[in-house]
């Protein structure tokens, strides 16, 4: 008995080790290095590297209000994009999981996953072509409407939101779809037999039971959007300064890695605090 158990344990360990080894190397080591950098005065590279240990990178965040207000701007962006994705994605997932049957469902599903197959940079630049003045969207609108209209969407926060929603919408559709798919149709039929209208069924049965999937999708969107930099930079123009773009600047333009690392860890901490605060809701949804 004990022998069989240990054999099982060994087999399990054999299967788990590669993944955990990879995670250690690919995530924890660089993260640890970044954490180390964030307490240095300068990058410890090159022969004339002159550096000492300091906490000034973290103090910088609190000394000026600039970083904090940018972080708040990014959190608002994250909330906006998440809410829009949920409002667009959940009804879509609901129809895919509960209304459409058979082969057309597969085809529609493919269309949702399609954006994953294209390069994200290409996607964003194609949005730039669509949104810019005299671009595809403006031409189309002016072709339909009898009067001339200037949309002026390019290089606005709206353009950033549009680009981000496009990139992250599939996440909430996929997670909601899986949760909705797991709801037995007989539950919906039972509710109908008891006289419940569609809205009541949605509110009392479908929404509570699919909440874990919906929230998982929301978290998957919120976390990367708060730290996003590509969409704001390309589509936001002069409005495109967000917390994520500032971090990127530290690494690529200013070459102040310690400050970039410190700002990243503050972002990580804030996101973890937000998730921890919302975890009671997440836990409730599961039961």
């Amino acid at each position: 008995m004990a022998n069989i158990l240990s054999q099982d344990t060994r087999r399990a360990a054999g299967l788990l080790t590669p993944a955990y080894l990879w995670l250690t190397v690919a995530i924890f080591l660089p993260l640890a290095a970044m954490l180390y950098f964030s307490f240095l005065s300068d990058v410890p590279f090159g022969p004339e590297a002159d550096w000492y240990y300091t906490s000034e990178n973290y103090r910088a965040f609190f000394e000026t209000g600039t970083y904090a207000s940018l972080l708040w701007k990014s959190i608002k962006l994250g909330l906006t994009v998440t809410v829009i994705c949920v409002l667009l994605g959940f009804p879509c997932a609901l129809v895919l999981a509960k209304v459409i049957q058979g082969r057309s469902r597969e085809a529609l599903f493919l269309l949702i996953i399609l954006p994953f197959w294209s390069n994200s940079l290409v996607r964003i630049f194609s949005w730039a072509i669509v949104l810019r003045g005299n671009g595809v969207l403006e031409l189309a609108v002016n072709w339909v409407l009898p009067f001339d209209i200037r949309l002026g969407l390019m290089f606005t926060p709206t353009a950033v939101v549009i680009g981000l929603v496009h990139s992250y919408l599939p996440y909430v559709i996929l997670t909601s779809y899986l949760a909705l798919q797991a709801i037995d149709n007989s539950l919906i039929e039972a509710a109908r037999s008891m006289g419940a209208k569609r809205l009541t069924i949605l509110w009392r049965i479908i929404l509570p039971l699919s909440m874990p999937g919906l929230l998982a999708g929301a978290v998957l969107i919120f976390v990367p959007v708060v730290g996003s930099f590509m969409e704001p930079r390309i589509l936001g123009g002069r409005f495109g300064t967000y917390y994520g773009t500032v971090i990127e600047d530290q690494f690529t333009a200013v070459f102040n890695w310690p400050l970039g690392a410190a700002l990243s860890f503050i972002l990580l901490a804030v996101v973890l605090v937000i998730l921890a605060l919302s975890s009671p809701i997440l836990r409730n949804a599961r039961t």
Binding site: S186, A190, A191, S193, M194, G195, T200, L209
Partner: protein
């Protein structure tokens, strides 16, 4: 509470006719079984009455009102699903109270009626459990309470006991019958278990390939099956068939048997195994039929013994009797198969 009438209902799924011109009456307050093998259309008929399936033609009436175009949620039905379909996110009390809350009966009224329903199914102390914390039998009773608590016009049960093990099923049959008597709601249930149909129902409808083969009280359907299928599906049956000759029936092995009065044209006759007996001597007397046969197998099962015998044309017949009433004949030895002529039931030649 209301009478349910199914009139010439037909429903096709693609080329397959799931229901083919089905008619049946379900008088107010009765307990009815729809019986049939899988794929016979019994669940389709139940779901058509519920409104989940719209018929291609024909009508469903509940309490005299034509409900063909009335959606499920407005039909005022109670339905219990094979999987029970309890809401996993709600407690037992909330599950049962769901239909009441939808009807906005008010909190105090809801509490009172949920309490009554829980008492009726004997689950009062489990009101605050989640469905995942209940046993199969308890879930089944919650599902039942949830179906009748709104006092619907008709109660529809889809294979209500099929998910339970044998011992629990027999207990729940008695329980189900008691509850149905107490609430008095017209109840229609679907089953593939003949014993369950015979035990519970006031009236049984037997379906095969989407058609209603026979409908009537259990005793009538059992004693006077209208077809070979009905005879063999509802319990076991032996069938004699041959050609009519004078007042009797000439079997394929050449022997002539006497027939009961009033069976003018029938060419097939069924007889239940318990109405066949075996004897070592050829029996004599008025109204007694007999045939020479050979003992094939004797199966002892406690109180009852089943004997399989073979007629001279190779046809096998089954007789069931108390063990002490069976002659102690060796396998392969000749016996006389006997019966009372009056117990031969004419059946249609249709399947």
């Amino acid at each position: 509470m209301a009478e349910v009438v199914v009139e010439n209902v037909t429903k096709s799924f693609g080329p397959m006719k799931a229901l083919d011109n089905v008619s049946m009456d379900f008088p107010d307050g009765g307990f009815f079984a729809l019986l049939g093998p899988s794929g016979s259309g019994k669940t389709t008929l139940l779901r058509t009455i519920a409104g989940f399936i719209l018929s291609d033609s024909g009508h469903i009436r509940i309490g005299g009102e034509k409900v063909d175009r009335v959606p499920v949620e407005k039909r005022d039905i109670g339905m219990m699903f094979q999987s029970y379909a309890l809401f996993p996110n709600m407690t037992v009390a909330d599950n049962i109270g769901f239909g009441l809350r939808v009807r906005r009966v008010g909190a105090s009224e809801e509490t009172r009626r949920v309490g009554e329903a829980l008492e009726l199914v004997r689950l009062s102390d489990l009101a605050h459990r989640k469905p995942s914390e209940l046993s199969g039998g308890q879930r089944q009773r919650v599902a039942l309470a949830r179906a009748f608590v709104t006092n619907p016009r008709v109660l529809l049960l889809d294979e209500p006991l099929s998910a339970l093990d044998k011992a629990l099923r027999v207990d729940m049959q008695i329980e189900l019958k008691r509850i149905q008597r107490e609430i008095g709601i017209t109840t229609i249930f679907v089953t593939h278990d003949q014993d369950e149909a015979l035990t519970l129902a006031d009236k049984i409808g037997i379906l095969k390939d989407g058609r209603m083969v026979q409908a009537g009280p259990p005793r009538d359907v059992y004693d006077r099956p209208a077809s070979t299928f009905a005879a063999e599906f509802l319990g076991e049956a032996n069938v004699f068939d041959g050609t009519r000759e004078g007042g009797g029936l000439r079997l394929t092995d050449g022997s002539l048997i006497a027939l009961p009065e009033g069976s003018e044209t029938a060419q097939s006759f069924a007889i239940r195994p318990e109405n066949l007996s075996l004897a070592q001597e050829k029996p004599n007397g008025d109204g007694i039929g007999s045939l020479q046969a050979q003992m094939v197998q004797r199966v002892f099962a406690g109180a009852m013994t089943t004997c399989v015998v073979e007629l001279s044309d190779g046809r096998r017949m089954k007789a069931i009797a108390l063990d002490r009433d069976m002659p102690h004949a060796e396998d392969g030895s000749p016996v006389w198969l006997t019966w009372k002529t009056a117990q031969l039931t004419p059946i249609g030649s249709e399947p």
